[in-house]
Subunit: 454 residues, 2 copies
């Protein structure tokens, strides 16, 4: 019996086990579920031990705990891989929008419905099952494997960086695979090659020392809202180009190959415009929508306020106005350097009669960009091509995945997303589900991955 037969023979049990796992309401954001997060961690510990994984244990952090286990007997010259996932889930509210209770999971139409079924309980359970199939049939794994599962991903993994730093030797690996993520579609594989970084700032423009009467003082003193608007308008042109001096200096330009890889991924601009409800797409001149979304840095206003926001008029000339800005960064932009450029631009564009303060806001991430020919991504792409019979799309994301950056910063390794969720599975929304077909495909893929690496 090889691992294929083992997986086939035990699939019904694995499905039932996934249902049991999803039943635990391990909501990391809500204090009342704190013990359930621990319970989910204990479920994972038991399940890993049952699979034959060794050194399995719960490890504390300042917040929800981590679960670790490994199997390190592949022999000399075999690589060590670290597999990441998380056993905490998003809150399930609003409950009344669920067709079946979020923590009483059911199978329907080949899908398991329940909070966390896809994100990430189904995802992180896959490599455990794959390891079991190999260990139970051959007694060994082709590579050394470390499992690193956390219980605070849905709240931004606040206590993970010090944990990783403190446990660098334990987590050390040649390659990292994340079991949290997705493929493009049921029959199209996907390899994520880039994530954007982030830097955030708040701008305060101050005029008079208190709110003034717009009739009595209008014309005498500057208006902070006017000044703030002028500053903002000076930072990005009507053509979508960011006009902050030096902003694009460290951006790695898209190569012909990069642009071809992006163009290969289907994109229906009319459908996008329809979905967003905008009159037309808009962004930096000279780039396609997808290029802008995935591979060009952005400058976005996240909030603005000042003066009277109620009904009707209040003839106030307000004392101050504020705005929040985040920039999404691409390789090789650095958050500190970009913040310095933003600050310098704003401070050299202070309108007459006003004072301006620029403050950095918490929330910073380096862009994540997988080097061309990167080891784990190359192997993952080959396995995906085998399993799906199609070359994976090479995609990027405008978002950030903080843990990818943490792992890179703390362990020096670019993680490769090797995960089998799909974008339509209602992550973070009512009626989350996970396809049993993805569950099985993922098990096969992880076994092939370990074989190929061995």
């Amino acid at each position: 019996m090889d691992w294929r037969d083992y997986l086939a023979a035990h699939q019904a049990r694995f499905t039932q086990e996934l249902i049991d796992f999803v039943r635990i309401p391990s909501v990391s954001a809500v204090d009342a579920y704190k013990d359930d997060v621990v319970a989910a961690g204990n479920w994972v510990i038991d399940r890993m031990q049952a699979a034959g994984i060794e050194n399995v244990r719960m490890m504390p952090t300042e917040g929800h705990p981590v679960v670790y286990g490994d199997w390190l007997h592949a022999g000399a010259g075999k690589p060590t891989i670290l597999i990441y996932g998380h056993f905490d889930v998003q809150p399930a509210e609003p409950f009344d929008l669920w067709d079946s209770p979020p923590f009483d999971p059911v199978e329907r139409d080949g899908k398991i419905f329940g909070r966390g079924a896809s994100d990430d309980k189904g995802g992180m359970f896959i490599p455990i099952v794959s390891a079991e199939a190999m260990l139970k049939t051959t007694g060994k794994l082709p590579v050394n494997v470390k499992f690193f599962f956390e219980g605070q991903e849905e709240i931004g993994s606040p206590h993970l960086p010090p944990f990783i730093t403190a446990n660098g030797a334990l987590l050390k690996a040649d390659m990292i695979f994340s079991a949290d993520g997705s493929q493009w579609s049921p029959d199209q594989p996907n390899l994520l090659t880039g994530l954007k970084g982030l830097v955030a700032a708040e701008v305060t423009v101050t005029g008079a020392k208190g709110d003034q009467h717009s009739g009595q003082q209008g014309g005498g003193i500057a208006n902070p809202i006017q000044g703030l608007s002028q500053i903002i308008a000076s930072m990005k042109g009507l053509d979508g180009k960011i006009t902050v001096d030096g902003f694009y200096d460290d951006v790695i330009d898209l190569t012909v190959e990069d642009r071809a890889a992006i163009a290969r991924v289907p994109f229906d601009e009319a459908a996008y415009v329809e979905q967003m409800g905008v009159p037309e797409a808009f962004g930096e001149v000279g780039y396609s929508v997808r290029e802008r979304l995935w591979a060009r840095p952005t400058f976005e206003l996240n909030g603005i306020w000042g003066g009277w926001q109620g009904n009707g008029i209040k003839t106030v000339l307000p004392a101050e106005a504020k705005a929040k800005i985040t920039c999404r960064l691409v390789a090789n932009q650095k958050p500190d350097a970009i913040y310095a450029l933003l600050k310098a631009h704003i401070e050299s564009h202070v309108p007459k009669g006003l004072r301006v303060k620029v403050e950095r806001l918490a929330g910073s991430a380096d862009p994540f960009f997988v080097p061309s020919g990167h080891n784990s991504s190359t192997v993952a792409g080959e396995v995906l091509a085998e399993v799906y019979g199609k070359t994976p799309f090479l995609t990027r994301s405008g978002g950030s995945i903080p843990v990818m950056t943490m792992l890179l910063n703390e362990l020096g390794v670019h993680a490769t997303v090797f995960a089998f969720g799909l974008p339509d599975e209602n992550l973070h929304a009512p009626n989350e589900f996970f396809r049993l077909s993805s569950f099985a495909k993922g098990q096969e893929a992880y076994c092939r991955l370990m074989e190929r690496l061995g």
Copy 2:
């Protein structure tokens, strides 16, 4: 005995009567004081009748009542003047900042302290006393006089326009004097020659149909805050010039004489900058601060909002952003025409990928500008020069006095402010007071005014 002797002989009684009048808490803004507003009206009725004024009566409006009275026996060829004032007062809160209770008025250092002492109970009581002094000493007045006192000035006189329209014949006059207002200082008279008008608009810039993730959609769609800022920046230059096409077309340019009259009024720019707490004064290039404050139109943002206003960052690309704009207008700008220009400018500056809606807000006023050589202002200026021994300053105000515009619109007469409050008397603030010296000076001035007009 002439009116001078009468005034001197009865000044102590008048002071006590003013204290009685101020004791009535006729706060028009607060329902609980509704009966007190009526009580103040009744006090005025009794006092006018005691003075010898005829046809005195309370007249209903949709809100607080009006008190009317007249004396119309001056004879053929004598003009009829209408004297305006109000017997309602501002709320007195916060009570604990008053040195003595706001509705238990006291005399201290030649001043009466109490809510409404200056605005406008002291002010409106003056012409009643003056009429009494003339009627009791000569049995007649030199001119026909109509008294028109309202009880809702402090809430914007919402029910006054229809009342004036419905009672046009009753209120008809050759000249109108407002007993609500102020002089420049205890020894410097002032003649108000201009008030600014007003027009208000709200701008809504809309992007996607709901808030989006700034990472996922940034670069794909336009940002409404960015777009709104670009629109606002396009409407006024960094030099303070309003850049809306046609905005200045109907503005009557300041003449050499106008500028000289404004320059004659002392203005300490350094003290103004200090008082406002700004780094420097700012406004339309080419004009002095006073010229801008008094005689040039303005474009002010009163409020702006959109997206996240809480602590820290929220990586949202908001669905919409809004701003409120008011323009202060000078003769001969018209609110309707200026609104049309604002709307046309905004609608021709819609940034790509966004939709913009412009709405007019309630609150509209024509600018008020006294024609050169205007009858009642000329006479008032002569009387003030006699009483103070100084030529009055000719000043304007950046604010609006709605009732001045109402009287002009409904009766076709430019009212002249002939009133004796002073700017330091804590109007609308704790510890409001009225100087007994102003009280006496005003009585003399109203007697002289009537004499001169007769």
